[in-house]
Amino acid sequence: MSTKLNRDDVIQNTVYDVYENYDESKSTVDEIILPERDKDKDPILDIRGLGIDFGGLTAVDEFTIAIGRTEIAGIIGPNGAGKTTIFNLLTKVYQPTRGTFLFDGVDTSGMTTTQISKMGIARTFQNIRLFDKLTVEENVKAAMHNEVSYGLASGIFHGPKYRKQEKAAHERALELLSIFDMQDMADYQASSLPYGAQRRLEIVRALATNPKVLLLDEPAAGMNPSETAELMNNIRKIRDTFGIAILLIEHDMSLVMNVCEGIAVLNFGRIIAKGTPEEIQNNPAVIEAYLGKKKEAK
């Protein structure tokens, strides 16, 4: 099980080389939905009873799950169930009213979005949020601000440190873009990209922050089946390449059921079921949440 590859390997190997080494059958999910291979390690995300109220309205409540270090997990649920709110809580766009979560064993209470990002949570957005007027490459490089460490003086005078780090950043950005085969678009203005490419660029940008957990908010929205299929491969590829955990929100059931190892189903802000894809597919509560009770359906 060679889940941990270093980056250079990926750029040279193709996705499929990586996948051939990956034994899918071994990834089973237990009650706290950690894949077998992550069981002996602490979960990267340990979310405990997270909840938030807006005014008097409870948007999310008692949200408790754990995510393994290399797990691909999914959150599904009907519209308005509070899925994106959970992402906003995990990235501290909102501060939770109740509960907390541990990231890599560290309590995140009171942290800001910026701190969370520094610790290693990166995300994409349901409604794409790129830096529209920057080029594709700059979008990626902007996210690499931690490794590009020169100060304002270097930024103004463009000294040797600037040149060295900018060169490295340029190479790294192209490398990351090449995951999605976007290196040729590096000089395009981000807003001029086609929709699908914009979604991919968001993922690349998130990866550029060197995350340990990647949160994808409806990555397949607006994609056609072949693009979705490609995306599925890419999600797995990213996990395998970078050895990170991925938590995604998605409405496309084929994607969720195919890619995710653990799934949590949310309705009215609460988890109504969690388990492996098979378990979820057969769970009556889930079916009810999606299709409604019979008497209400008519």
Partner: protein
């Protein structure tokens, strides 16, 4: 969709930088040559230094409005901080035996430092606000700076430098009043030169354009384009906005010092809301984030009222009409669509889809 981006193609920043430097250096050379041939009118000659100042002001404001995306209506406040600092410093050094250029340089540097510190201090509270609220608070700070300059009195004599909020400085015989409250600075020795202005413009271009093409510039523009996304990738939005604001204020201080030392008198009223707006007009007309656009707009709009003198009483009316028409002409979607075909034919870009580019919106 392969494009001709690779080999040898200049990045857009490099290209724009070259245009900016080229414009400035070219204009300097041409004007200098014409001047040596005696072909520059006194009218234009007298405006060379102010033009340089306004270019510095416009380019520095562009850093805040265009590149950082925050509407500031108080830029003249920083200009005045720089101007008065420059005047005081130059006044103190008058007897120091420093050569004029040395004095000018020290005055400009001090102006930049004071304005920069002021920008930093003001930026901390101001940048917590957004959009039009930020605009009104910058306006307020600009007015407050002006108001405070009205009660500052400074002078020097053999006992050294005096600074008070009332005119009784108790200067001894032979002492000199440097700042005289609402009467501003008078008897300023005029030491600004076109060459100094030219150097200052180059410094400003160097600073702003290099920042744009650096980690800091990317971060500043990222915060402008999408604050939430910028936070999500770990950018400290406040820090970068403050950085842009402070650098811009410092540059404005430089421009102010040059401006202040170009006239024998300077009233605090000069740096009111109208001046801030004037500079903003340069920036918007030149194009947000477009540095060489700012240079051209600042130059034209400084010369324009003078060029319109022959319209006498109708001069400012004509200026207003030109301003409105130019805004409508360059920004109206309808007129843009009308001219789009023409432009596409002539200046086709190598971009995959023809979405509107930067310029217009905040």
């Amino acid at each position: 969709m392969k494009m001709q981006i690779k080999n040898g193609r200049l990045s857009p920043y490099t290209k724009n930088s070259i245009i900016s430097y080229g414009l400035v250096i070219g204009a300097f050379v041409i004007v200098s040559i014409l001047n040596s041939m005696g072909m520059v009118s006194s009218s234009l000659q007298g405006q060379l230094v102010p033009i340089c100042c306004y270019i510095v002001m416009a380019v520095s404001l562009n850093l805040v409005v265009g590149i950082s995306g925050e509407l500031s209506l108080g830029h003249a406040g920083f200009m005045s901080a720089g101007a008065y600092t420059g005047i005081v410093v130059s006044g103190i050094l008058e007897t120091s035996g420093l050569p004029i250029y040395g004095r000018l340089a020290v005055a400009i540097i001090c102006g930049a430092i004071v304005a920069g510190v002021l920008g930093f201090l003001i930026g901390i509270p101001v940048l917590r606000l957004r959009g039009d609220y930020l605009a009104i608070v910058t306006l307020a700070f600009g007015e407050i700076i002006k108001n405070i300059m009205n009660i500052v009195y400074a002078g020097k004599d053999s006992h050294g430098f005096h600074l008070k909020t009332n005119p009784d400085l108790g200067l001894e015989e032979g002492g000199r009043m440097l700042l005289n409250g609402p009467m501003g600075a008078t008897q300023v020795q005029r030491i600004s030169t076109f060459a100094a202005g030219f150097v200052l413009v180059l410094i400003t271009l160097f600073v702003v354009q290099n920042i744009m093409n650096s980690k800091q510039g990317r971060a500043i523009m990222a915060c402008r384009d999408n604050r939430i996304a910028a936070e999500s990738i770990g950018l400290n939005v406040m820090k970068y906005k403050l950085m842009a604001f402070t650098v811009s204020a410092a540059l404005a201080g430089m421009g102010g010092a040059l401006f202040g030392l170009n006239y024998s008198t300077l009233l605090p009223v000069k740096f009111n809301f109208n001046t801030s707006v004037l500079i903003l007009v340069f920036v918007v007309l030149g194009g947000l984030g477009n540095i060489w656009g700012s240079i051209i707009a600042a130059t034209i709009l400084t010369i324009l009222p003078e060029a319109l003198r022959q319209f006498a009483d109708y001069r400012m009316l004509a200026y207003a009409i030109v301003l409105i028409l130019v805004m409508i002409f360059t920004y109206s979607p309808k007129i843009k669509n009308f001219t789009q075909g023409f432009i596409d034919k002539n200046f086709k870009r190598k971009k995959p889809t023809a979405q509107t580019e930067g310029g217009g919106q905040v």
